[in-house]
């Protein structure tokens, strides 16, 4: 058997040792990792710069809008005040109660056997939902109480056609006095009465009359 001598074995083992040099291998690995890191860093930096651009745009937009919004707040306050004033005036003017038509209605519809001595009306204040008036008077007839009661009922019917939720009630007693009056040539007794009328303010459809 022929003897085969490898005279280069030392060179080969050195080459092999260089090939598997741990430092070199770790350097390769590290370079790979660093390459990955660099790629990730640039990607993150791109994302970050995009976000910074968005932030700058938002800041610029806010810087433009902010004074406009502050001016809008001030102006809105003034505008609201104007609108509130206008609405309040409109409501007040439209919600006024007109006494004249009521007085005209009353004076033209009092029968001859009833005499009104006092009318006192109270509008119920601004924003009040109801107003009321008191009527004091004298009813004359063979049955003065019936005359007064009929007047109360007729008053309720009359006002119920024009106003909402009309409530007509006697205040206190119907007092038949000793005083008499001449009606159609006859002496008839009289009764003094007090009537309270309550009306709901507003122009809606008249509701049924209540007594």
């Amino acid at each position: 058997m022929a003897l085969h001598l490898n005279l280069n074995h030392e060179q080969e083992s050195l080459r092999s040792a260089r090939r598997r040099d741990p430092l070199k291998l770790s350097m390769f690995g590290l370079a790979l990792i660093v390459g990955g890191f660099v790629a990730q860093y640039f990607w993150a930096m791109g994302k970050s710069s995009m976000q910074t651009r968005h932030l700058a745009q938002a800041n610029a937009e806010f810087a433009t809008l902010s004074p406009l919004a502050a001016a809008a707040v001030t102006e809105e306050g003034e505008l609201k005040q104007k609108l509130a004033n206008s609405d309040a005036f409109l409501k007040r003017i439209e919600g006024r109660f007109y006494w004249a038509p009521l007085l005209q209605e009353l004076v033209t519809n009092v029968p001859p056997n009833v005499q009104i001595s006092r009318f006192a009306g109270d509008g119920g204040g601004e924003g009040g939902k109801r107003l009321q008036f008191n009527l004091d008077g004298v009813a004359a007839g063979a049955e003065p109480r019936s005359v007064a009661e009929k007047f109360r009922q007729n008053l309720g019917d009359l006002l119920g056609k024009k106003y909402r939720n009309v409530v007509v009630t006697f205040r206190g007693d119907l007092v038949v006095g000793k005083e008499t009056v001449t009606l159609d040539g006859k002496e008839v007794p009289t009764a003094t009465f007090g009537i309270n009328v309550q009306i709901q303010k507003g122009d809606a459809t008249p509701a049924p009359t209540g007594h």
């Binding site: 690995g29 860093y41 994302k47 109660f97 005499q115 006092r118």
Partner: protein, 183 residues
């Protein structure tokens, strides 16, 4: 596989370098970048509602502005209804002239109160007492109707009509009137 001493040292050195690179990258590279990203994201998140709110505020003002011409016209009309000067100088004359022209004489008008209007900013409410000692209620009702129609800023919170016993064809009227005047 067996490492020589020198190789072991190189492995340790390589590992140390690796750790240093990873630490350096996260601590001084990606970390600050992420922190800056987080900061700007937080700023952006905080800014967005502010921008929305500002836009909403401007839109709300614009919506109100659309309703203003009508309100301004009404307020101008109202202001034109109010004569210049102190109401104590012109209101009794206004009432007196109106009711006296219909034969109600005398007409006594007195100021009862003067307060800031609680509902309308920039205006005052004056309360007046009007006494008409002798009138015919038919005629008075007609005159009052004309007055109520011609003076939309005047209200009558209360009214008393008393029929005179000694002269039943005449009545005594006490009227409360309220009007609005610009400050």
């Amino acid at each position: 596989m067996k490492f020589s001493k020198e190789e072991k040292q190189k492995v340790v050195l390589g590992a140390l370098l690796g750790i240093a690179v990873v630490y350096g990258y996260f601590e001084y590279g990606l970390g600050p970048l992420k922190a800056s990203q987080k900061r700007s994201q937080a700023e952006l998140t905080a800014l967005e509602p502010k921008i929305t709110e500002a836009k909403k505020q401007i839109a709300s003002r614009d919506a109100l502005k659309a309703r203003i011409p009508q309100a301004e016209t009404l307020l101008q009309q109202i202001d034109q209804l109010i004569p210049p000067g102190s109401p104590i100088a012109w209101f009794p004359t206004l009432v007196g002239q109106h009711f006296k022209s219909q034969g109600n004489d005398p007409v006594v008008t007195r100021m009862l109160s003067d307060v800031a209007d609680p509902l309308v900013e920039g205006y005052r409410r004056f309360n007046w007492s009007v006494e008409i000692p002798k009138t015919d209620v038919f005629e008075f009702a007609r005159t009052l109707a004309e007055f109520e129609n011609s003076q939309p800023l005047v209200e009558a919170p209360s009214i008393i009509v008393e029929f005179q016993k000694d002269d039943p064809q005449y009545q005594r009227v006490s009227l409360n009137l309220t009007n609005s005047v610009k400050k």
